[in-house]
């Protein structure tokens, strides 16, 4: 054996490769299944990290199916960072393309929501803007105003009732999901991320605000997804969720 990277590593992640030469027990005999301890540690620790990061997906699939799916994912997608808190960013796309779960069309969007909540959990802290500052603005000024949102704010649009599916899966006693598209806003007023269902267009509205557009421009973006979109309710959610950190001096055009 000449190299950890060229010999040890490939056999570690591919159980079909033979145990590398030059590895032995204490008596000079070939290492054999001793090498499997490392193989097992790598695969199982990554599968466990994935299960911790995507508890709703794991519940929806059940333990055996989740293990089967996770094993394929971790072999194809070893972490690219030492920060396991971010592991699994590619999992939603992987699920969307996996034929074995094609009958669960909503699964990838549930994974996206769980990823958004994990990002919110670890995001930088921020201090909310005093709501009185907004209250003092005239309607015209408010429409021309842009914001810095809290780094924990996350949003996503789904063609599935993804918020209702997540809630039904994770919160006991929640109502059965009704078929309807759902946009979701995730905010973290203190330490625990909270997902909120939004009217269609809500994700476009939030994304536009995150990009630094004015309230009026964000409203225009939302209306292109939903003619009836009313920004008042979503703006109220942002204020109540302490998600507006500051006014932006210049809106992004």
């Amino acid at each position: 054996m000449t190299s950890l990277g060229a010999d040890f590593l490939p056999a570690l992640v591919d159980p079909d490769l033979p145990v590398p030469a030059g590895l032995q027990d204490g008596k000079g005999r070939p290492a054999g299944r001793r090498f499997n301890v490392y193989r097992n540690n790598v695969t199982v620790s990554l599968m466990e990290a994935l299960e911790q990061g995507f508890p709703a997906v794991a519940k929806l699939l059940g333990p055996q199916n989740f293990a089967n799916v996770a094993r394929i994912f971790v072999r194809e997608n070893p972490p690219q960072s030492q920060l396991m808190m971010h592991y699994g960013a590619a999992f939603p796309t992987f699920l969307a393309k996996l034929p074995a779960v094609a009958h669960l069309g909503y699964l990838a969007d549930v994974a996206r929501l769980e990823l958004a909540m994990r990002r919110a959990y670890h995001a930088a802290d921020s201090t909310p803007l005093d709501p009185a500052v907004l209250g003092a603005l005239s309607p015209d000024t408010l429409a021309a105003t842009a914001f810095h949102l809290a780094p924990s704010v996350q949003t996503l649009a789904s063609t599935w009732p993804v918020h209702a599916i997540w809630t039904y899966t994770m919160v006991q006693g929640s109502p059965k999901p009704q078929a309807a598209p759902q946009d979701v806003l995730v905010m973290r007023p203190d330490f625990d991320p909270e997902p909120h269902a939004l009217a269609t267009g809500g994700a476009a509205f939030i994304t536009s605000l995150m990009n630094g557009h004015s309230l009026g421009a964000a409203h225009d973006h939302a209306v292109s997804a939903n003619l009836q979109f009313d920004p008042t309710e979503t703006l109220g959610l942002l204020i109540a969720g302490e998600a507006i950190a500051a006014l932006r001096l210049e809106p992004v055009e």
Partner: protein, 291 residues
């Protein structure tokens, strides 16, 4: 004795967030905490807020699991910068890492993988330790691994390899007594002989943890460093042997999987406290000097 860390020669525990309230309420007999560096490299939120509060009350040891000091590829400069950022704001009582690798090129394998002990790897690991200590501006402790196999190419015994690294770089060592017991069982050497060959003067911290039992292809016992159970009795006995030779040291109990309620961990810490107290009875002069 050279000062390798400012941790107290008392029991510590590997911190788990589910024990936050219990620890803030009454941590006795635990006197200090150890965190895994990589879990506190996010932007903010509860992990960093808890750590800030804990660090106001307890000495904290930062224990890295992802630096890949034993790796063939250069240390990841981004990760080193993250470690520096964490150590700069926290100013921990100790920073430690492993004689192991986990990253190759860009793939991170989330495990502590073994390396052969040769002149070539000695130079490379030594260079990596120099780089870490220069970057952090502090001495680090290097931990002995759990071994499940050996490399035919190794030309150094592990205690000698660690002693030479400490001599060349000025780093301290973290002696994991469970790892010694696991490796000794798996590779068929005498754990006391390993301890007797170990440069105990360089040891700034001791680790204890639980292991699982499996068997190899020949039916021989194969112990797994699983950290999911209480510390085994022979490991406590080996700890007594270490302490009798080293004198009092900070002793940490690690329990990372199937984590029990706080009272179970506190009992493990109490056992470590007893081992340290027994030592003070036997060696009053030395313990007074170190404490």
């Amino acid at each position: 004795m050279t000062q390798h860390s400012t941790l107290p020669a008392a029991p510590g525990i590997g911190y788990k967030p589910q024990h936050y309230s219990a620890i803030m309420d009454d941590a006795r007999p635990v006197r200090w905490l150890e965190i895994h560096a990589e879990n506190y490299m996010g932007g903010g939120g509860r992990p960093l807020a808890q750590l800030r509060h804990l660090a106001e009350r307890f000495p904290v040891s930062v224990h890295g699991v992802g630096l890949s000091i034993g790796g063939e590829t250069p240390l990841d400069p981004d990760h080193l910068a993250r470690l520096k950022h964490l150590c700069d704001w926290l100013n921990p009582a100790s920073f430690s890492e492993h004689l192991a690798w986990s990253t190759h090129d860009s793939a991170f394998l989330n495990d502590l993988l073994p390396l052969p002990y040769t002149d070539k790897t000695l130079t490379r690991v030594g260079d990596h330790i120099d780089q870490v200590q220069n970057c952090l501006g502090r001495q680090m402790l290097l931990e002995n691994p759990s071994s499940y196999l050996a490399f035919a190419t190794s030309t150094w015994a592990e205690p000698d390899f660690l002693r030479e690294l400490a001599r060349r770089t000025g780093c301290g060592l973290l002696l994991d007594v469970n790892n010694v017991f696991v490796s000794a069982t798996n590779l068929g050497f005498d754990p006391r002989g390993y301890v007797d060959a170990f440069p105990l003067d360089a040891v700034g911290e001791i680790h204890l943890g639980g292991h699982d039992t499996d068997t190899d292809d020949h039916g021989a016992p194969l112990l797994i460093d699983a950290h999911g159970t209480a510390v085994a009795d022979p490991v406590w006995t080996l700890l007594d042997h270490v302490l009798a030779k080293s004198g009092p040291r900070p002793v940490l109990v690690e329990w990372d999987n199937d984590v029990p309620d706080w009272p179970v961990l506190a009992d493990e810490a109490r056992r470590a406290e007893k081992a340290l107290a027994a030592l003070r009875m036997q060696r009053p002069a030395r313990s007074a000097a170190v404490a």
